[in-house]
Chain length 207, copies 2
């Protein structure tokens, strides 16, 4: 299969890379420059791959394609130990993955982008404050949940953890605060068999 990724490290693409490594699946990569003008993801060649103009996209050998990182994670793990066979636990997994894409990633990933590649100094202070507050709120929800748990769902490492780990690992580096439960969970994820770190950016930084 082929993963469409970006040249700078994308947490959303990293979710798929981490999972594929843990499943022992090899794959090819096509990298797009999202810092180009216009972004390579918004040019006709790539819009033919994903009309929504976003990476990651996973392309299978028969030509079928899936977009949206968390949909890809779900597809790849049905029937594996990384996704519960219990119907309610699968729904809880989806609940946390929708939380990630709605209440967490739009703030934490955007703060990360501004910090490393997007000119943090040009962001209006009111926007910066609002993004920090909402990102921090998402981390507080996670801290509370993890206060009495080892992983997000059913006390078992799975794709809700992968989805939430991708950007949360950068929280301290981008000025958000992590609590003790969150930091212990980050370590538990890093200790999983087959764990691979996110790739460095073109300047050699691992955010």
């Amino acid at each position: 299969m082929r993963l469409y990724d970006s040249t700078i490290p994308s947490g959303n693409a990293y979710k798929v890379r981490l999972l594929l490594a843990q499943l022992g699946i090899t794959y090819d990569v096509t990298e797009l420059d999202i810092l180009a003008t216009p972004s390579e993801t918004r040019r006709p060649e790539f819009l033919a791959v994903n009309p929504n103009g976003r990476i990651p996209v996973l392309e299978f050998d028969d030509g079928r394609r899936l977009a949206e990182s968390n949909a890809i994670l779900y597809y790849l793990t049905e029937g594996t130990p990384l996704l519960s066979r219990d119907r309610f636990e699968r729904a809880e997994t989806l609940q946390w993955m929708f939380f990630e894409q709605y209440s967490h990633e739009p703030y934490v990933a955007v703060l990360k982008f501004w910090t490393y590649w997007g000119g943090l100094e040009r962001v209006p202070p009111a926007d910066l404050e609002r993004w920090r507050q909402r990102g921090q709120q998402a981390l507080e929800v996670m801290e509370t949940h993890l206060g009495s748990r080892t992983f997000f769902v059913a006390e078992s490492y799975g794709i809700a953890d992968i989805a939430l780990f991708a950007y949360t690992q950068s929280a301290d580096a981008i000025g958000l605060r992590t609590g003790p439960a969150l930091r212990a969970w980050l370590e538990r994820v890093r200790d999983q068999p087959g764990y691979v770190p996110i790739k460095a950016d073109p300047l050699g930084r691992v955010p």
Copy 2:
């Protein structure tokens, strides 16, 4: 079961109401005033129900609870005709539901809120323009996809359609443009057995 909803019509809660009507499931409702200061969804009583402080939440008779509208839709339809039994088609369903929460709802639902309840005239013009542009972009992706299809996945009405219908039905009323494929699809959704419209707001408006 009990649905936690808001007093003003929420598209996200409407998804669950529409589905429950189509499944023939009766339920109780608790309505929260999100226009209060602070919002009733951010007070301790409700944070005990959903630590993320958002509706909808579906509470089952055994006390278990699920948040995130699209996770609730998925849970309720596993094994029904509204969610494919094919693994790839289920993944496509999730892809469109993550598209809805990431690329569509944050723009279309926020424009709807500003228009009806949130003081559109106080929104900074640059923000309004950006939200309109991104909302319109999401509608264009939908229009293209529906140009050669009757429903979002597998030519069969399902929860991806319910998720995307909830806010798209208000597009014209809030200044976005819908194309012929989108308008034909909106009609096909309204023609489904068991269809119920979204409730009116306290001023009697059906947005």
